[in-house]
Subunit: 289 residues, 2 copies
Amino acid sequence: METSNSRTAPEQGREARHTTGAARLAYFVSDSTGITAETLGSALLANFPGWTFERHTIPFIDTTRAARELVGDMRAASRSRHAPIVFATVKSSEILRELEVSGAFVVDLLRGHLRELEVALGTTASEQLGQYHGVGDIERYFARMRAVEYAIEHDDGQSVRSLDSADVIIIAPSRCGKTPATMYLALQYGLLVANYPLTDDDFPGDGLPQVVASHAARCFGLTTTPLRLSQVRHERRPNSTYSSLAQCTLELRRSEDLYRRNRVPFLNSSTKSVEEMSAVIMQSMRLRT
Amino acid sequence: METSNSRTAPEQGREARHTTGAARLAYFVSDSTGITAETLGSALLANFPGWTFERHTIPFIDTTRAARELVGDMRAASRSRHAPIVFATVKSSEILRELEVSGAFVVDLLRGHLRELEVALGTTASEQLGQYHGVGDIERYFARMRAVEYAIEHDDGQSVRSLDSADVIIIAPSRCGKTPATMYLALQYGLLVANYPLTDDDFPGDGLPQVVASHAARCFGLTTTPLRLSQVRHERRPNSTYSSLAQCTLELRRSEDLYRRNRVPFLNSSTKSVEEMSAVIMQSMRLRT
């Protein structure tokens, strides 16, 4: 941010004081699910690390009556506090006005950008409520349902049936994050994702485990740091060989060797969220259309 | 949209012509995963239903070099077409400038809103890249991993172990959308969600199936339309009793009776996306904090 260059010490001091006070109220308000308002609103708030926010996601505010009720709740909650910040994805100008006259600080995430698009396209936006998350596309629904079922069936090497149809096969030692990444790719993108655990039995020679060897081009590996892996494994089996730093170090080193020898692309999951891992996997495997 | 009131017939005609031409290029460009840019950008484009867009999500544009390469690709792709529309969530003003000088129409989804927040909070935004999707919060990572594993273990009534710890138990006849909703709630919100299929065996009396009866307050039901259910079941077993309209009608009627008699809240999934179902379930069960 350019404006950050002008930040001064006193300003930082003022921020720090705020953290000890009451949290600032932040509402993510939507005429639909609230997912967009929550995601972008949270990303924006993350740029103010010195502050604490009390967050509320309020979906389905699609009538002025619902908006008025919400305004009543916000007023009650913000008594003797600063005005709430409202991140809004509502298309109706009447509903937006209800929010604005309440005294809240409204960040309108839609309408300004809709006007920009109207300029870019030389036309006006449709008046209907956005139906992006609507069922509309039954094919997409089927694809996601199939993908989630495929992911469940092929989780943790449970089934090697129909690996032929996998878009990607995630391989890694236990607890490196295979399952959440698998499920995320299935649910968000309808991809067919299998995953296969690398165990001590899988390191007799230099090749990939027999089950996945013929699908090498669709394999993607995960690794992490020994410390992180040990920490995660302790959650499951405290003070076991399985969770010992020595065992974790060994398994990760062998896995990374295996990936390199077989030209399997891989990433270190220790500093990545499920979303980031999924984005890297899709980019690396060219699964984005 | 207020501006839509001024829409005229000729304008609509102009839109219609566009649909027969080449699709307009739309890029979702991010210095992180691209999820926010893709979600909000798609929601915005949904307001222009007469148009077709060729969409590309480009994550991890976090250096000016990466931005320049992308601009090269965009130029090659847009030859003899209108300038691409770029939905950008990049914090660096240098990267943003690279995109803007390319001639693309850039919709900046972050910086304008960051300025608004700076006004609301009376301070400047941090210069670091937003780390909302960053791993930072290892507790959140554990919670999601646990929730996904719980969901897999408790999918389709497979296990009745530890139903005590479920935040919600989704009940419904086969193919009403239990599994995708379950997985979405687990993955996005770290909720412990079990699901249990209602079969013919579950309608001997008036009560809930024995397995879930003692957890009635945490049950949520799904229903759909007989036609939709029959369509979805045909996908799995074409021309079976299971997928017949008569059987689907019967199972749905019995399920809805069961929900009403036992005061189990329920929703009709036939016109809802997975995201919408999840938002309704969380709201109804007060699972949003």
